[in-house]
């Protein structure tokens, strides 16, 4: 059996706000295998965002261990975490976070700007175009975000998450700003992506319908995992319309 992408053991996160200590995570243990599509649900204040920040190497644990691809990242410096985010994690956000007045290609190139060793401009552009092609957006490569629909913008963001070939995609409420139909299309895109590349996806949502897309659903409440089960009825990818037809 291959090594888990994520291996957390008794992870705690405590924020100190003045004299108050906020226990955001109270001891989370979690292993995620390559190729899993994990959805994490929970009400606001449940600690799911904190968990995602730690999974995304944006924040550090207060206690416990966290291994990403078998490497302990619990105590890395700010700069080392930046390198790990760059190489191993692709982020997809609720608000897309595309740079305005910047073409889709250039938006997708952003993570490549911070790769070391440096990637030459020509190669950056090739990689970005390839990622856009995977998302069925080749014909939108020179469009600015304002010229794209919400679904297209989110797929540009997914292309950006993919461009550096990470082992993990972290999606934080990726459908939150989209209507139901477009949200479903984006979810389908993620399913297809997992199907074709075997990439590991962790998705955070508060919507049960969206959580149902995962192959494994984890619920979190008050900083603890309250349920963790395989999803026996994931939506079937073959019913989806082809990507190119998505507006």
């Amino acid at each position: 059996m291959s090594k888990p992408v994520i291996s957390m053991h008794d992870v705690k996160k405590i924020y100190e706000l003045g004299d108050n200590k906020v226990h955001a995570l109270r001891g989370v243990s979690l292993d995620i295998e390559p190729g899993e599509f994990v959805t994490i649900t929970g009400a606001s204040g449940s600690g799911k965002s904190t968990l995602m920040h730690i999974l995304g190497c944006l924040d550090r644990v207060s206690a416990g261990t966290f291994k990403l691809n078998d490497k302990d990242v619990s105590n890395l410096s700010r700069e080392e975490l930046a390198n790990i985010r760059n190489k191993q994690i692709g982020f997809v956000f609720q608000g897309f976070n595309l740079l305005p007045r910047t073409t889709a290609t250039e938006n997708v190139e952003v993570p490549l700007l911070y790769s070391r060793p440096l990637i030459p401009a020509v190669e950056r552009k090739e990689k970005a175009l390839r990622a856009l092609e995977k998302m069925g957006l080749s014909d939108r490569a020179d469009h600015h975000p304002s010229q794209l629909s919400g679904g297209q913008q989110q797929r540009v963001a997914i292309a950006r998450a993919l461009v550096n070939e990470p082992s993990l995609i972290l999606a934080d409420e990726p459908t939150g700003n989209l209507d139901t139909k477009t949200g479903q299309d984006v979810m389908q895109t993620l399913l297809d992506l997992r199907e074709s590349t075997g990439i590991t996806i962790i998705l955070i949502t508060h919507e049960p319908e969206i959580a149902a897309y995962g192959s494994r659903i984890i619920s979190i409440r008050d900083g603890l995992i309250v349920s963790d089960q395989a999803n026996t009825r994931p939506p079937i990818p073959t019913e989806s319309p082809s990507l190119a037809a998505v507006p």
């Binding site: 390198n83 760059n86 976070n97 700007l113 911070y114 790769s115 950006r160």
Partner: protein, 449 residues
């Protein structure tokens, strides 16, 4: 870090282009500051170059010693006053000046006469001046075509360009031609470019040869060049003392004590000098050199013949220093205000783009990458302002120079300096915003609306 430059520059230009009006207004301080720096340097170096230029071309280090006394001569005291008529100066006086007074670069004994010269079948009336070969150095002549004669008793001559035109025609090379003056034949050795006085219309011949042909023993004048222009007055005083002694006008022991006010009136006490010593600084001042500045100097220096070049340069320096100080304070204030403007707008920009910074950090930008991005944006802003300021400065230097009649000179180095200062302002005032951006927490930054 430097390999990221093109990307960073592109990002900077895009971001600045996004808010053109804001960018331009932010640059205003830098634009004015750089323009002031450039104008300041242009006026400063222009003034200096002009003074230096005048020293060499006009020969402001020159002292004239003439036979006779214009101010106190006359029949009543038995001293001939008319130019050319006095015979009190002799070649030995010149030798004594050279050997007895320190700081003299060169002297040239001189006689002159107005008479007919004949050559090329033409006879014209002209001024003939006998000179020593050193005369060419004293006046910084360029002899072309031809060369200066080397002996004071040869039969060679140097001719002024206007006289060449009169005798040989415009643009003709007269070198090697023979020219006749008072039955002596001279070979033309060269043509002078001398602009001073009437050099262009005169014929210059070796002074000993001219003395012989005129049958005289005396000199009309001696032209003395000081090694350093500022010493002209001191040397002039010493020449007076020396000649009074040589001509038996005063005893050696009380010479120094007397060389005050009365001495400058052309003699000591009841005994008038039988010679005249003048520095050229006074003459130079009145000849339209550097006119407004000279007028300034004149207004401040009541005794014209006391003006040494050092004093004149000092006065000009003071005037240009005042101007420079004024512009420097404008430049300094504008650059500081401009820098604060840049800092302010960068802080605004960072606040507006907090999410962008968070996104960049989430995708792997290190603190340094973010800092460099914003630092380059600040420097780009200030350098573009600097370039606009450069254009404005060239224009204003020209304008100020023209309206004040003040010479300006803008060197490549001063343009480089102006841009360098602009870049430095961007660097200094961009550091704080850049550092703040680099220290943002990516989670907080991404959460910002």
């Amino acid at each position: 870090m430097f390999t990221m430059m093109p990307i960073n520059l592109k990002m900077a230009l895009r971001s600045l282009n996004r808010n053109r009006m804001r960018t331009l207004l932010t640059m205003l301080g830098i634009i004015i500051g750089v323009a002031a720096v450039l104008t300041m340097v242009a006026l400063g170096t222009g003034a200096r170059a002009s003074v230096e230029g005048e020293v060499t071309s006009a020969g402001t280090n020159i002292i004239f010693v003439r036979s006779g006394n214009y101010t106190r001569g006359g029949d009543s005291v038995g001293i001939v006053s008319g130019a050319g008529a006095a015979t009190t100066l002799i070649p030995e006086d010149g030798e004594a000046i050279v050997s007895g007074i320190a700081g003299i670069q060169a002297i040239s004994p001189s006689n002159s006469v107005r008479t007919f010269v004949a050559s090329n079948g033409t006879r014209v009336f002209a001024r003939i001046q006998g000179i020593a070969p050193e005369f060419a150095d004293i006046y910084s002549w360029n002899i072309a075509p031809g060369n200066m004669f080397t002996a004071s008793n040869s039969q060679q001559a140097i001719i002024g360009p206007d006289l060449v035109s009169q005798i040989f025609g415009e643009g003709v090379n007269p070198v090697g031609q023979t020219i006749e003056v008072r039955n002596v034949s001279y070979t033309i050795a060269g043509v002078t470019d001398g602009q001073a006085e009437d050099h262009s219309e005169a014929l210059f011949v070796p002074w000993q040869t001219l003395q012989d042909s005129l049958g005289v023993e005396h000199l009309d004048s001696i032209t003395v060049a000081a090694e350093r222009a500022g010493e002209s007055s001191r040397i002039a005083e010493e020449i007076k003392g020396l000649l009074r002694q040589r001509h038996g006008l005063i005893s050696a022991d009380n010479d120094n004590t007397q060389s005050g006010y009365l001495a400058r009136q052309g003699g000591v006490g009841a005994v008038p000098d039988d010679f005249t010593v003048e520095t050229q600084a006074a003459e130079a001042l009145t000849k339209g050199l550097y006119t407004p500045a000279a007028a300034f100097a004149l207004a401040n220096l009541p005794k014209l013949d006391e003006v040494t070049l050092e004093e004149m340069a000092d006065t000009l320096d003071r005037a240009s220093n005042t101007m420079t100080a004024l512009l420097a304070s404008i430049a300094g204030a504008s650059l500081i205000v401009g820098g604060i403007g840049i800092m302010n707008i960068m802080l605004v920009s960072i606040t507006e783009r907090t999410r962008e910074i968070g996104l960049r950090m989430a995708t792997g930008a290190r603190s340094g990458d973010v800092a460099i991005q914003f630092l380059i944006e600040a420097i780009t802003l200030s350098v573009i302002g600097g370039l606009i300021g450069l254009g404005l400065g060239l224009f204003s230097a020209e304008l100020v120079g023209w309206s004040l009649g003040w010479p300006t000179s803008v060197s490549l180095a001063s343009m480089g300096l102006a841009i360098g200062i602009a870049a430095l302002v961007g660097l200094i005032f961009g550091s704080y915003p850049a550092r703040r951006a680099s220290l943002l927490d990516p989670i907080e930054a991404l959460r910002t609306e």
